[in-house]
């Protein structure tokens, strides 16, 4: 068994490739979809599969700016103590003219299923740029560690003072932080979803 097959087991390369079939959305040509794999052994997170995906239309136009995922065999969990298999969403951009057509939702749902079948205990994402707002929306099901929420709460209090707020509001949940705050203040958010 190759190192890639071993690191992916019990799923296969074919399972990964099929996850990114767009099933006719935006006139995608699924036969042209490419998935490039790299396997790193002995990292701090155990054996690690890094893969990137590109999808194309019938006219040969790229649909993604790039999609990159890591499957880490032994990574520290964010949602609990200990280590386990963890899938990391590293980068995911849909090109501008293909946004708003359900591609991201289609892929995310299929990926969750793939990661679960691989045996991931958690999906982790470092949310940055617009992702700080998008990934914290409840429909994606991500959570934040308690200490990170409290640090964010401290920063939110300062953010309101900087703007001269007469009454400082407290957030009780991740979704309570306003968009302007999330998009301007923390550089990134370490989020996780327990599978």
């Amino acid at each position: 068994m190759s190192s890639l097959a071993s690191a992916l087991a019990p799923i296969t390369e074919t399972d990964v490739r099929q996850t990114y079939q767009l099933d006719g959305r935006v006139e995608a040509d699924d036969s042209e979809t490419t998935v490039d794999f790299q396997v790193l052994a002995g990292t701090d997170d155990g054996a690690k599969v890094i893969y990137s995906v590109q999808c194309f239309t019938m006219a040969g136009l790229p649909i993604l700016d790039r999609l990159e995922r890591w499957l880490c065999d032994n990574k520290r969990l964010l949602g609990s103590n200990g280590r386990s298999r963890v899938a990391c969403r590293v980068r995911f951009y849909v090109r501008g003219n293909f946004q708003g057509q359900g591609i991201a939702s289609h892929i995310i749902g299929r990926e969750d299923s793939l990661f679960r079948r691989w045996g991931a205990a958690e999906i982790q994402v470092t949310a940055m740029e617009d992702g700080r707002w998008v990934w914290t929306r409840p429909q994606f099901g991500y959570a934040i560690r308690a200490e990170d929420f409290l640090l964010l709460q401290q920063r939110y209090t300062e953010w309101q003072r900087e703007r001269g707020a007469l009454e400082v509001r407290r957030a009780t949940n991740l979704v309570d932080f306003p968009r302007d705050f999330l998009l301007s203040t923390p550089n990134s958010l370490a989020l996780f979803k327990t599978l």
């Binding site: 701090d44 640090l151 401290q154």
Partner: protein
């Protein structure tokens, strides 16, 4: 060995003062803190630190074991880089042979300012454990 960390908010007010005592049973003592910071510290206590954050389009991973002398310096880096707070770490070795002070301050248009001040002819400790991935934003 004892490490101390002071964190200042955007108004220059001290919001957190921590002491990390190393040895067979490390302790994290809150000397002074706001309510939120005190609660955050309680959650950090006893756990290895591991966060990946975004900085200038790159992913930067900050890790430190709970029992490591790098725990507070790495935490300071995280608070400075991700939340824009000014941090100060003070390391006191046994018999107070030297004191190293590391001050960082978030600057939106540039890298954080880092200053080292040490006693003459005494060694600097290694920088915190930082791993940078050459990967751009989500």
């Amino acid at each position: 060995m004892v490490n101390e960390l002071k964190v200042y908010n955007r108004f220059g007010e001290l919001t957190l003062h921590l002491r990390h005592s190393l040895g067979p049973a490390p302790e994290l003592i809150t000397i002074d803190a706001t309510e939120d910071m005190r609660a955050a510290v309680a959650e950090l206590r006893g756990n290895d630190f591991d966060r990946t954050i975004a900085k200038a389009g790159e992913l930067v991973r900050l890790t430190a074991d709970w029992t490591s002398s790098q725990f507070l310096p790495v935490l300071a880096q995280y608070l400075a880089m991700n939340f824009g707070w000014r941090t100060q770490t003070i390391e006191v070795k046994e018999r107070a042979s030297f004191v190293l002070t590391n001050v960082s301050e978030h600057r939106p248009e540039s890298q954080p300012r880092v200053e080292f001040r040490s006693m003459p002819n005494l060694p600097l400790v290694p920088r915190p454990n930082i791993e940078i991935y050459g990967i751009s934003a989500e």
